[in-house]
């Protein structure tokens, strides 16, 4: 008897591609790409209930007030000037205030600090930028102010890095970055009302 060799029929897999395509499309629809961005901020620690007078006294010359009213209008005030301003001016004003290049007596006080890598420096690390908002202020206005403040600080740090090291801030060693960030140009942004003393009202 001549046995015919039977070939095992293969499973038809032509639709597997379609099935996996469908899975692929399902995942594309239900997931989101990793593009979440935002402005990172640090909140101050909660007030200590045991501490009675938590108010910090700050000299008037060290404070720059940035206020936003319920319509989102910006008001900038320091010892020299006060008045409504445009959001575009804020960055420059903050930079001049924090840097106080001429050691002007109405802008933040400078004092000597010996820093690692940088040596003897005159820093204005006692300055405070006080941001005050109304309950009705639009969030967008507040966000733009925060954005400009962060921009001002990063420009200052960048300028310092270029002047001292000839490189941009982001290319410096982490150690040097830390010194600049924490000791030379610390971000002192307060969102509470600081009490002031000294100077003229």
């Amino acid at each position: 008897m001549a046995k015919k060799k039977k070939k095992m029929p293969g499973l038809n897999t032509s639709s597997t591609a379609d099935i996996s395509f469908m899975l692929l499309i399902f995942f594309l629809v239900t997931t989101s790409m990793d593009t979440d961005m935002g402005l990172a901020r640090h909140l101050p620690q909660p007030p200590d209930p045991d501490q009675e007078d938590a108010q910090v006294d700050i000299k008037a010359r060290n404070i720059l007030y940035v206020r936003l009213n319920f319509e989102g209008q910006l008001w900038i005030e320091d010892e020299t000037t006060r008045g409504y301003a445009d959001i575009k001016e804020l960055r420059q004003r903050v930079k001049e205030f924090v840097k106080n290049e001429q050691n002007y007596s109405k802008w933040p006080e400078k004092h000597v600090k010996i820093l690692d890598h940088l040596g003897r420096c005159y820093v204005t690390d006692k300055h405070v930028i006080s941001v005050q908002t109304d309950r009705g202020t639009p969030y967008d206005a507040y966000f733009q102010v925060q954005n400009e403040l962060v921009a001002a600080y990063s420009e200052l740090r960048n300028e310092l890095a270029k002047e001292k090291f000839g490189r941009e801030y982001q290319y410096l060693d982490d150690e040097i970055k830390d010194v600049i960030r924490k000791q030379y140009y610390p971000q002192n942004i307060s969102e509470a009302e600081p009490k002031k003393y000294g100077g003229t009202k």
Partner: protein, 141 residues
């Protein structure tokens, strides 16, 4: 006529599928508020997705507006919440995290939200020791 061998096509598609599964994250909640985040220039990427919790703030979506009105709402997980509930939310989120010190709260709020809501949330976050926050935004060119 010789047909092209397509037996490796499924494998190929599966590879793409796995790639997408790796680089993307599941959308965890159904949004009940609608928001347009503000635009900024000094943004940082949110790293370590596992340590991030989201708080959504904005008016209810169009489908829910008839029931819920058009006032600003805060959404935690899948439901509307009051600002004081943020504390429990933060604690619950922190429970499931490996590195609790790195917890970041991302606030996704609509541009037009009144600051009162944001200030309330921030005050509660401070009390719950969730100090690292992130104002969600899109890049402005």
């Amino acid at each position: 006529m010789v047909e092209m061998n397509t037996s490796s096509l499924p494998d190929l598609i599966f590879t793409i599928l796995f790639f997408f599964m790796m680089v993307t994250t599941m959308r965890e909640v159904t949004l009940k508020v609608k928001f347009v985040v503000p635009q900024g220039t000094e943004l940082e990427k949110l790293e370590k997705k596992s340590a991030v919790s989201f708080i959504y703030v904005g008016p209810p979506t169009d489908q829910l507006r008839a029931q819920m009105g058009s006032g600003t709402r805060i959404q935690l997980n899948d439901r509307y919440a009051e600002p004081k509930e943020v504390m429990d939310f933060v604690a619950a989120e922190r429970q499931g995290m490996q590195n609790q010190a790195e917890q970041v709260i991302s606030i996704k709020a609509d541009k037009g939200t009144q600051m009162g809501y944001i200030t309330d949330i921030k005050e509660v976050l401070r009390k719950s020791w969730a100090l690292r926050i992130n104002y969600s935004a899109s890049r402005r060119n």
